[in-house]
């Protein structure tokens, strides 16, 4: 009847559907089944299950009979409901309340033990009950506590005692029983528990793990199927991006660390090179302490050793004896005059360096970097002397080398002198140049003489160490020695330092004493001399030049550069060091004696008092050509700087003695400062002891014994001449004269030339 549109419109849920009874529609058969237009709705079952026999049977039965037939139901496993003991089990009755139940979930937790006794337990309980009364609930509580206190490991009997406040006999009995039972237990616990997930994801597929925690709740809009999927994808994306960022950051950090490591390694190599530590002895000696102390913390000191020395120096200062520890870096083995040379270079370079300063501060991976550290340390020394000239050094951010406190370390109050950073300016300088920049002319007050190029730094305990360097100028400096002191320089700190600008003029000059002197006067050379009488602070500043080499055990080391020294054995080196130590002590003693007489030296007994003058005995290796004996330290490498032990005469305290002994051994020794210097003023005894100390420090002192020459420079020179390489201990006292520079200039020039090869190395 209907030529109906085959295209039935879609079923519109909003459109009213008239309802007919079949009887109302005689022509119903002509109706078109809607199946054409309305897609069959899915049942919501899984396909496989949908086809299951019993379901299909039931469905068809329903469609036929519109009603379930008994035999058409879906069969299920049987259940019984005839537990006869039910009433005995569930005792009591419950009258239905009028009110609906309203429960506070928190109230549900009663303190009942979760453990439920079984019949096995009952046997034990009955047994126990013969001797004492124990209720099941008590037993359950005990086991419950034991169980809950045991995770992977069962609690021990002692723990159990703490856990259960029970009679010993009972406790023992229950505990033993529990242990036995638990070992036989199939499950992980006597209280059966659902397996919990492990956070590592290993249980993700464990069928027995249930009720895992949901990590995050997805918030997606209703009815958007895709939202969830895309949300997840975006989450994933974000996760991956953030991981990428993390990775990149870590790479960045790694690369930074690598750069730092490179710097440090370079520095260490350089230092070892200077010290002639080719056997690694010093390194190993220093390594342990290194580990503890922050490498970068103290600007002055690159290594821990420095720190120690630093302290030591302070002590020295307090003692009042100016003492100079020198690093001698010499291309050839030389006398103190070498110092001049480095200066030259210094001056030369300075002009160049100045502008670049900030850049230098940043660590460039090259030799210069290494030198930087040196400068830095020397800078300390300089600072007090010439704060005005190089104030910026102080302020200069230290970058990665900024001081960072480290847990467990004890820090002394900063010494003003630490910070000056004159030499920082010239990181590019290397070799002699570097020397020159690192060191400045230095005079001692007690053996009134110029010790040549030296660098001060503060060692452990506040002692001031002088690192001496030998240079071609040593010869000239000798003259300076005599002449300078007579001529009086202005005392002020400013006097000592040569304004940096002036340095430029210097390069290459200073060949003669007069030149040198004039340079000094013109403030083109830095010249540090002890003041006759100073305030603590100023004194401190001047006196100590913290030596870079502090890592050397105990003593200050003078680095000498041997242009062509042959290989030196470790033994030699040690012997040498010992010898040096002894010498130093002797010198100290002498110094002390002298100082006693001389008004120049001021002794402040307290460490704190800054006005410390100290004498630094610098051992200078004999000029390069010379004997290897003296310079056992020196390594063969082309103009290698070798560390010589120089004793720091600390005025300060008796500690020095102990220190000496320690020197070798370990870090305490590394503090060096105390060791070397036998405290003269404070501890007169130390003087006589010198020998003893020396021996303690270094069993072997050979030629050096002869060494101890009271007059520093002379000694030095003598030493150089006679022993050549033997480090000279030159105790100097505060007031120093700086005069004749000229001869030195020449020497400087010479040095500068020689330095080149050094740099190369």
């Amino acid at each position: 009847m209907s030529k109906l549109s085959f295209r039935a419109r879609a079923l519109d849920a909003a459109k009213p559907l008239p309802i007919y009874r079949n009887k109302d529609l005689p022509d119903l058969n002509d109706c078109v089944s809607i199946n054409r237009a309305v897609p069959q709705m899915p049942t919501g079952m899984e396909k496989e299950e949908e086809s299951e026999h019993h379901l299909q049977r039931a469905i068809s039965a329903q469609s036929v009979f519109r009603e379930k037939k008994e035999n058409m139901v879906i069969p299920v496993p049987e259940a019984e409901s005839n537990i006869t003991y039910y009433d005995r089990l569930y005792k009591g009755e419950l009258r239905i309340p009028k009110q609906l139940f309203h429960i506070q979930p928190l109230g549900l937790d009663n303190e009942q033990p979760d453990y439920d006794m079984d019949s096995e337990d009952e046997i034990l309980l009955n047994r126990l009950n013969r001797k004492m009364e124990i209720k099941p609930i008590q037993f359950e509580t005990m086991v419950d506590r034991l169980e809950k206190a045991s995770t992977n490991q069962m609690v021990t009997i002692t723990e159990a005692k703490l856990l259960l406040n029970e009679d010993d006999y009972l406790l023992k009995a229950v505990y033993d029983y529990w242990v036995r039972k638990r070992k036989n237990c199939r499950g992980p616990s006597l209280i059966p528990l659902i397996k919990l997930e492990k956070r590592d994801g290993s249980t993700n597929n464990d069928a027995y793990v249930a009720f895992r925690r949901r990590t995050e709740k997805m918030q997606t809009r209703k009815n958007r199927k895709n939202d969830e999927a895309s949300y997840e994808k975006m989450l994933k994306l974000r996760r991956e991006f953030s991981r990428t960022v993390t990775i990149l950051e870590m790479i960045k950090r790694r690369e930074k660390s690598k750069r730092e490591l490179l710097h440090l390694t370079l520095e260490v190599v350089e230092k070892r090179y200077q010290m002639g530590d080719f056997t690694g002895e010093v390194l190993s000696e220093v390594t342990a302490p290194l580990a503890e102390k922050p490498v970068y913390t103290v600007p002055i000191t690159v290594t821990n050793g420095n720190r120690h020395n630093h302290k030591a120096e302070i002590k020295i200062k307090s003692g009042g004896l100016p003492y100079h520890g020198y690093h001698h870096v010499s291309v050839k083995d030389e006398d103190p005059f070498d110092f001049v040379r480095p200066k030259k270079k210094y001056t030369r370079r300075e002009p160049l360096c100045r502008p670049g300063r900030p850049a230098k501060r940043q660590h460039i991976v090259n030799k210069a970097d290494i030198k930087q550290y040196d400068f830095h340390s020397s800078g300390e020394e300089d600072y007090p002397l010439s704060p005005s000239s190089e104030p910026d050094e102080e302020n200069d951010p230290d970058g990665t080398f900024a001081f960072r406190r480290k847990a467990g370390c004890h820090y002394l109050a900063p010494c003003l002198d630490q910070t000056s950073g004159l030499l920082w300016d010239h990181p590019e300088l290397a070799g002699l140049d570097a020397l020159r920049h690192r060191q400045s002319l230095t005079a001692l007050s007690v053996p009134q003489r110029c010790v040549g190029l030296a660098r001060r730094r503060v060692g452990r305990g506040g002692r001031v160490l002088l690192d001496r360097a030998s240079s071609d100028l040593d010869g000239v400096l000798k003259q300076l020695d005599s002449g300078v002191f007579s001529s009086s320089f202005p005392k002020g700190l400013s006097d000592h330092q040569v304004p940096t600008q002036n340095h430029r003029t210097m390069p290459g000059s200073a060949s003669s004493l007069t030149d040198l002197l004039s340079n000094i006067q013109a403030l083109r050379w830095r010249f540090f001399r002890p003041r006759s009488t100073q305030g603590d602070d100023s004194g401190e500043g001047r006196t100590g030049r913290p030596s870079m080499d502090n890592r050397l055990s105990g003593g200050l080391f003078v680095h000498t550069k041997n242009s062509g020294s042959g290989g030196i054995t470790e033994e030699q080196y040690q012997v040498h060091q010992q010898a040096l130590a002894q010498m130093q002590k002797q010198q100290l003693a002498q110094l002390q004696l002298k100082t006693a007489g001389s008004t120049d030296c001021i002794i402040s007994k307290t460490l704190d008092s800054a006005g410390a003058h100290f004498a630094a005995s610098a051992v200078i290796s004999a000029p390069g050509q010379v004997n290897n004996e003296n310079k056992p330290d020196n390594t063969s490498v082309n103009g290698v700087v070798q560390p010589l032990v120089e004793s720091l005469p600390p005025h300060s305290t008796s500690t020095s003695q102990g220190g000496t002994g320690l020197d070798r051994s370990g870090r305490t020794p590394s503090s060096g400062g105390p060791l070397l210097p036998a405290s003269h003023s404070t501890t007169p005894q130390s003087l006589p002891n010198h020998r003893g100390h020396g021996s303690a420090v270094s069993p072997a002192h050979h030629h050096h014994n002869a060494r101890p020459s009271p007059s520093s420079l002379k000694l030095a020179t003598m030493a150089t001449s006679s022993l050549d390489r033997v480090p000279k201990v030159t105790p100097a006292i505060s007031s120093m004269a700086r005069d004749n520079h000229e001869p030195e200039r020449l020497a400087l020039n010479g040095i500068s030339e020689t330095t080149v090869p050094m740099e190369v190395t």
């Binding site: 008239p18 809607i34 496989e48 949908e50 299951e52 239905i96 006794m117 019949s119 997840e232």
Partner: protein
């Protein structure tokens, strides 16, 4: 049969298929084809875990060798390496678990190279379909046999996007975190494929679990697992239960009673606030719900436990769970009438209650998919009766023929629109007549409905419902 005795001689291994004796509902013997899923040796004999092809898993069971018809034994065959003509690997999408079985099983079996397949698959199919296809033509022909196999993609209408986490990248991931049902393949390993609890004693009842449930593993070997009837704690022995009952003073589910009429009460339990009970309830329910997942915690669910009161207390009859917030209009996650109470109208009562809640919430809802067979039947029945009730009650208005929109039906009943349509279709009520859709009520539909409604005495009385929906989305947590 003489051949039965030979079961022990011939190596019957996992993957084998053969007819196995079982009693049907009329207590008659029948020999449906079954697949061996597992073999275990207990002293003196072997036991075989069989799955009856095309029967629901809940009928799987351990059988003794004498129930095996060895004459018709079919060995699993290696899958053809080369694709067959139709492009499908092998003639039958074999059950993945049979492979697992072979790996897991104690004995050495076939090589693990291929999936088992059957020579005479055609025979199986025809046998099965012949054997079981009953009723009129409306019954769908049984699909190829895939005993236990689960498809990733549920054929549900709700578009539950069940496998949204099973992204195509193939990276196995954890199940989705919403909902309570799974239909992914992870469900199909041999462990969860087999029932692990023999018997559960709950109050007066002994229940035979239908499916796997992750009770503590050490309890799965017990002949009987004891549950406290009220707190549902699981205990290994009667003695323990006894002891427990001295300490457990619950006589009703530990939640708020939000409905009571007669002996029927409903208790609402927050899955976050009362974890222990919720978990115990889930463990019990899992014994009877194939697709229920216990993978995640119960926090986002509310549990509505229906109880029947007697002097001993409020005995659990069934329950349904419900997501506090459903993104897909689910008003039921899992729903279960405990077996002792089944086929007595409690299921429909539960369903009715769930829609009553939706009515209070002013929402339409639908059960989470996939439905089980029993679920489908129950829901269809409920939907049918609910819709027919409305249609029959419509009186002619001013002599006009009564009419109603699908949306109206949905709104009145809180049954989701799609479910309304599917029910109308199922009942074959929708016809296209003279250019428009009409609903036609045939006489047998009407009669059937009236008969059914007479039997349906258990009804929810909305006046007895004391329920205030919470807006969970405004709470930080569920």
């Amino acid at each position: 049969r003489s051949s039965r005795t030979s079961a022990t001689q011939v190596d019957v291994v996992e993957g084998c298929r053969l007819p196995v004796l079982r009693k049907n509902q009329e207590n008659e013997d029948e020999w449906p084809l079954a697949e061996i899923l597992s073999v275990k040796e207990i002293p003196g004999r072997k036991l075989y875990y069989v799955h009856y092809i095309d029967f629901n898993k809940r009928l799987d069971e351990w059988v003794t060798p004498d129930r095996l018809d060895m004459k018709k034994l079919q060995f699993p065959k290696k899958e053809a390496k080369t694709p067959t003509k139709n492009g499908l690997p092998g003639s039958r999408p074999s059950s993945p678990e049979s492979e697992v079985v072979r790996v897991v099983g104690a004995a050495a079996y076939l090589s693990h190279h291929g999936k088992p397949t059957f020579d005479n698959f055609a025979f199986n199919q025809s046998l099965v379909s012949h054997y079981y296809s009953v009723g009129n033509g409306t019954a769908r022909r049984p699909m190829p046999n895939q005993p236990g196999r689960k498809r990733k993609q549920p054929p549900n209408c709700g578009g539950t996007d069940e496998d949204s986490q099973d992204s195509s990248d193939g990276i196995p991931s954890t199940p989705r975190m919403t909902g309570s049902l799974v239909s992914d393949r992870s469900h199909d390993d041999i462990v969860t494929r087999m029932k692990n609890i023999d018997c559960i004693e709950l109050g007066r009842h002994r229940l035979k679990p239908w499916y796997f449930s992750p009770y503590p593993q050490e309890l799965t070997t017990l002949p009987i697992l004891y549950l406290c009837e009220f707190c549902l704690k699981y205990l290994k022995s009667l003695k323990c239960l006894q002891r427990h009952l001295t300490k457990c003073n619950l006589r009703h589910p530990p939640g708020n009673e939000i409905y009571r009429k007669g002996t029927i009460s409903f208790f609402e339990i927050d899955g976050r606030k009362n974890k222990t009970y919720s978990q115990n309830l889930c463990l019990l329910a899992k014994c009877f719900l194939d697709h229920k997942t216990l993978y995640y915690d119960t926090d986002p669910f509310l549990f509505y436990v229906m109880t029947e009161y007697d002097a001993k207390g409020f005995h659990i009859v069934g329950y349904f769970s419900k997501e506090k917030e459903s993104t897909e209009d689910y008003n039921v996650a899992c729903i279960l009438t405990l077996p002792p109470y089944q086929r007595r109208g409690y299921g429909k009562l539960l369903i009715e209650f769930s829609y009553e809640l939706s009515k209070v919430e002013g929402k339409t809802g639908t059960p989470e998919k996939p439905l089980s067979d029993l679920g489908l039947l129950s829901y269809r029945s409920y939907w049918s009766q609910t819709i027919l009730e409305i249609l029959m009650d419509l009186k002619p208005d001013n002599g006009e023929r009564p009419q109603i929109t699908i949306n109206d039906i949905s709104e009145i009943t809180s049954v989701k629109k799609e479910d309304v349509i599917s029910t109308l279709q199922y009942l074959n009520l929708i016809n296209y007549y003279k250019g428009q859709y009409i609903l036609t009520l045939s006489e047998d539909i009407v009669e059937g409905h009236e008969r059914a409604m007479q039997k349906r005495h258990l009804r929810i009385d909305s006046k007895c419902l004391h329920f205030t929906p919470k807006d969970w989305s405004k709470r930080g947590k569920w």
